[in-house]
Structures are given as C-alpha cells and as structure tokens.
Amino acid sequence: MVIDILVNGLVAGGIYAVLAVGFSLIFGVARIVNMAHTAFYMLTAYFIFVGTTMLNIPLVASLILAIILITIIGLICFKLFFDRVKQHETTVMIISVALAMLFQEILFLVFGGHYTGIPPLAKGFVDIASIRVSYQHIFAIVTTGLILLGLWLLLSKTGLGKAIRAVSQDREIANLMGINVNQIFLIVMGISVALAGLAGAVIAPIYMVSPLMWIQPLTIVLASVVLGGLGSVGGCVVGALILGYTEIIVTFLVPGGASLRGAVSMSIMVVVLLVRPEGLFGVAFEEERL
C-alpha cells in the first residue's frame, strides 16, 4: 500500500507538474492564461492513439510525431488567436476556453465519447518490496523527472533561459537589453505546448483517453499554479506534487475516495490560499515603470 501510494502519487504528481510548469511558463512570460493547455495534452494522446492503432506507426515514432505535431498546432493557435489580442488578458483566457471546447467537440465528432486505450511503451512489471510496479509507471516517473530537470537546466544555465526569465521579470528592460520579446513569447509558447504534449505522451498509455480528459487536469493545474504561487515555476511543481499525492492518498485510504479526490484537492488549495494568499512560494509584485 505504501509503495502503491508512493509510486502512483509520483506518477500523478509528476504529470501534473509537467503540465503546470508549461502553463506557468507562458503565463509568467507573456501573461497568457491558456485554458486550452490541457486540451493540447489531450490532443497529443489522441494523435498517439491514431498513430498506433489506426495508422500502425510504431509507438515510439507515434510519440515523437505527436509531440512535433502538437507543438506546430500550438504555435499556429498562438499566432492566430492569442498574439493579436494578448494585451487583453481576459479576452485571451476566454478565447482559450473556446479553443479547448472546440477541440473537445471535434474529438467527440470524430471518435465518439467512449474511452480509448493505448498499449504501453514498456510492458511488464518489476517487484519492489513484493509490490508489482509496471515498467510503464517507472518510465513515467523517470521521464517526468528528466523533463523537469531539463527545463530547470534550460532556464538556469543557458542564455535562452536567462532571456526567458528576463522577459518574465521585466519585459521592458529585457527589450532594452536587446532581447526580442515577441520572439521569446513564441519560443516559450512552443516549449509550453511541447511540455503538454510530453505529458500527454507519457500518460496516454496509463490513463484512459477521452474527449473530456482535459478538464480534470486543468483544474489541478490551475490549483497547483495558485498553490505554488502565481509566476513561480518551482512553486507550481511543489503544488502539483502536493495535489497529486493528495489525490492518490484520498483514493487509496478513504472509502469511496475516487469520487472525493477532486474536492479534497480543491479544499487544500483554498485553505492554503486563506492562510497565504500569495501561495507557498509566491512573491507579491509591485508594478514599476521606467
């Protein structure tokens, strides 16, 4: 049981963390609240489904193609729907909700509402302290860990990462230091959607795929982001892990917990925000002009 909770919590928390980081990045850098973020994750899962079961493309190739395809689609959506109105933050948010609904409806039309599954990338089990853990779960944990590590290295060690952080902290000064802010927006949108795609690719073989699968992770992502502190990329990882573990613990330990897990997660978020309105790692920004 303890091992089960540890492993499943890490899978759920890790996926939520990858999703939340992508959401938080584009919000922090371009102030875009992208409610379609997890819809990109859903689309990726469907692309992989189509690739493996309908087109008979090998699984690994399907995964890579799906991530490339979703990144291109994300960038097109950014150019078409977000870029021109991004100074109106509420408009962007509403457009992104509409976009997510659009994707959902298209998937309903094409695939119907039933649940679909994808074969696992790594078949088989390993026994840890006499508990069976599937290779797919281990693969998910290792991959999400590597993704988060890679992102941390990108942001803290590279010139591009510094430019991205500079834009998120003060885009006017970033501009003054020769950084092409609009280009950074585009790059970060690409990274953000690719992260959603990666999360979809990791999760598709574990969870069920359905046209409504974007809604539950979206609420968790929003909760992780405010729990960790708006704009804090590290904070949302912690937020996501807390919420992932909460979900799994409630599911395992509380009778009928599977239907309660969302409520408990949201309660935790509300309580934390009542005590610490800026979130666990949030900083209160004061607006400044030149």
Partner: protein, 249 residues
C-alpha cells in the same frame, strides 16, 4: 556617433508630453537634460530608445495604448525612428533606466549576463565583465546576491554595468542621482566620469541641477514638454529668465 532628435512629439491620449523637441549630442560629449518632475525627460529618453513605439504597439487597443509619436531620431546618420527597441541596442545606443530596474529575482552576475544577450563571444563577455567589476568593485562582491536586495546606489551601478555589457557606445542615463545619499551620489558622479572617460558618449537627465552642471559640459532645459533653453552652465545661469523660471535658482 552623433545623436540627433528632431521635432519629437509624444501624446499620451490627449496629453501633450513632448512638443516638437529637438536636441543634438556629438560623439564624445557628455550632455545633460534638466527640468522639473513631469517635464518629459524620461519620455524623451524612452522615445529615443524605441520604448514609446513599443509601448504603443504592445498596448494597441487598450486605454494606455492611445499614443501619438512623431518626429525623427538619427543615430550616427542613420534614421532609427522606425527601429524596434531591441534593434536600437544593437547599434550601441543603450538606455539606463531610472532607479536601475534590475531583474530582481536574478543575482547581480546574471543581470550583467543578460546585458550581454546580443554578444555571442564568450571571451568578449568575460572581458566586459572584468571591466565592469573593475569600475564597480562592489558588484563583484555582490555578484551572487539576488538583485532585489541590493541598495539603491548599487542598483544604479548594476544598471550602468548592464549597459556596458551590452557594448554601449552611447549611454542614455535617466536620473542617476535620484534618491541617493550624498556620499553615494558623489561616488556615482566619479564613476559616470570614468564611463565617459572610456570613450562613451552620454546624455543624462537630472532634477539635481548642480549634479548635472558639474558633470556635463552642455545642457538642455526641458519644461512641460518644451525645450526652453540650451547652453553651458555659465550661459544658462547668466540668463535671468531661465535661472528663475526653469532652474529655480
């Protein structure tokens, strides 16, 4: 390189902030732009650096975006009025903002590295970094400190250092002395002289008339968006009207 501003006009919505303003700074000069709070000094520097244009574009369709921007800015005989802010930096014309505005969640060293964003040569970056540390030893001591926690004087030095990392040939410095204690002010005064001594042309704005008059050789007087006078300190002080109405001396 010479900077030439001609007929520069800026309106925020219907408020005239700059009214057909012109000025010239020759290569190698140190010139000041003085005037009371709200005269339009910051706006002038922002317009030259391409930020007003950027503000206008990025806030299009919002209340803050109703900006009128007219006039020409020439830098080294090239018309830069239509260039974007990040392209102007590339030409060596760099704005150092009021109160420094560091990237507050980055440490001092990272701030300087962002300044070198356009430079791809690692050796050249290291060389500029050593030059900046030589000019401002305190930045070397503070290099791992988060810049949101350094003092006001250090922030201004960091901002000037950041501009040097961007290979500035021409510096626009906005109110370097504002809010600093007398001793820090004096120190900064000497450092700005050093930067000028490195062959960098400087246009700075000031509300502190004596700071500006001691530092620069030529001065422009701006009031309510209009250029009222220009000349050396002696010339301006000899003019009774300028002295009383605009310099308040």
């Amino acid at each position: 390189m010479q900077l030439k501003v001609d007929n520069l006009t800026v309106l925020y919505d219907r408020a005239m902030v700059l009214n057909k303003v012109g000025l010239v700074v020759e290569e190698g000069e140190m010139v000041s732009l003085v005037g009371p709070n709200g005269a339009g000094k910051t706006t002038l520097l922002r317009a030259v650096a391409g930020l007003v244009k950027w503000e206008k574009e990025s806030l299009k369709g919002t209340v803050g975006g109703k900006i009128t921007l007219k006039g020409e800015v020439e830098f080294g005989r090239e018309n830069i009025s239509r260039l974007r802010a990040h392209e102007i930096v590339r030409r060596g014309l760099v704005l150092c903002p009021e109160r420094g505005r560091p990237f507050r969640e980055m440490n001092v060293r990272e701030n300087l590295e962002v300044g070198a964003h356009l430079c791809t040569d690692k050796g050249a970056i290291e060389e500029s970094l050593q030059k900046v540390f030589q000019l401002f030893p305190v930045l070397e001591k503070r290099q791992n400190q988060i810049s949101g926690t350094i003092s006001g004087g250090e922030r201004t030095m960091l901002a000037i250092g950041r501009c040097l990392m961007a290979q500035a040939k021409f510096l626009l410095i906005d109110e370097p002395s504002v809010g600093l204690a007398p001793l820090v002010k004096e120190h900064l005064f000497d450092r700005i002289k050093d930067v000028h001594g490195m062959g960098i042309t400087i246009l700075l704005t000031e509300q502190d008339i004596s700071f500006a008059f001691d530092l620069a050789t030529r001065h422009y007087v701006l009031s309510q968006g209009q250029m009222m006078a220009q000349g050396s300190a002696e010339e301006l002080l000899a003019d009774e009207v300028v002295r009383q109405s605009y310099l308040g001396l």
